[in-house]
């Protein structure tokens, strides 16, 4: 099929400084009862937020609210075994589920003065700071791909994208970035 993506217009040198791929990390899907969530907070060292669509970060570890009984725990890749063992051992009394999803998805950083502009091309949420403040995180859509969108700063967003959708999300963002190159 005829390509109309960035490669079709060789005259544009696309500035890709708005995109970064962070280092691989440990990603754990944690689900459980309120008691398990409370217990996990102390073991993981980050209070798992009980408010919807909020994140918490302590040092290099973050906990992202995904649903009322579901969190995405993010930590350095080297700490994976340690964290899994600690949580498994300490939470044996609490009903929960801990599943390693480190390879399920990729992280992307979209940053810079045009970050919101780029994301608004495919994300239906209101990204005004009053509606999507720093620290907010939520699953949503970027065109036909599910993403988790997490705001780190006014102009820095962290996206979690399932592995096989990553290329698609980057290609679409790049297509919109062509407007800025012109």
């Amino acid at each position: 099929m005829a390509s109309h993506t960035a490669t079709a217009k060789p005259t544009i040198v696309l500035d890709m400084s708005w995109l970064e791929s962070p280092a691989h990390t440990t990603r754990l899907s944690f689900r459980g009862t309120p008691a398990a969530i409370a217990a996990a907070s102390s073991v993981f060292g980050v209070p798992l937020p009980t408010s919807a669509c909020r994140s918490a970060t302590v040092g290099s570890r973050s906990a992202l609210w995904q649903g009322p009984d579901e969190y995405l725990l993010i930590a350095p890749e080297s700490e994976r075994t340690l964290i899994i063992q600690a949580l498994t051992n300490e939470l044996s009394a609490h009903a929960h589920s801990l599943v390693d999803v480190s390879h399920r998805q990729n992280g992307l950083i979209v940053k810079g003065p045009h970050a919101v502009w780029l994301l608004e091309s495919g994300c239906p949420l209101d990204l005004d700071l009053s509606q999507f403040p720093i620290g907010m995180c939520t699953r949503t859509l970027f065109e036909k791909s599910e993403i988790t969108l997490w705001r780190l700063a006014p102009d820095i967003f962290h996206l979690e994208v399932w592995r096989s959708f990553t290329e698609y999300v980057i290609a679409l963002l790049s297509e919109t970035a062509r407007e800025l190159a012109a």
């Binding site: 919807a52 669509c53 649903g67 239906p124 939520t138 699953r139 949503t140 859509l141």
Partner: protein, 97 residues
């Protein structure tokens, strides 16, 4: 595209939701005790209400939760949304259930 109030996440665009059919259709606890007619009603018979209608939605591209909503099928306006397992406020029950 509607705006739907997820009881967990707040107002979100319809794109993030999937519709789950009529609400408050309860699967019999012991299906073996249901007659064929009762089972057929559970499986197949649904309302087609003009006006207030209780329906299920799932915030599938959000928190993942199923929840219930009362929507006016003539105007597409939602009267209320509430969590799965809860009953709608008595003030709006009317013909919705």
């Amino acid at each position: 595209m509607l705006v739907i109030h997820c009881p967990y996440c707040g107002d979100r665009p319809e794109l993030e939701f999937s519709h789950g059919g009529q609400a408050h259709v309860i699967r019999p606890k012991d299906p073996s005790q249901a007659t064929d007619a009762q089972w057929a009603e559970f499986l197949y018979l649904r309302k087609n209400t003009r006006g207030l209608f209780a329906e299920r939605w799932r915030h599938v591209r959000g928190c993942g939760r199923f929840f219930n909503a009362i929507r006016d099928t003539t105007t597409d306006q939602f009267v209320v949304t509430y969590r799965a397992g809860e009953q709608p406020p008595a003030s709006v029950v009317g013909g919705a259930l």
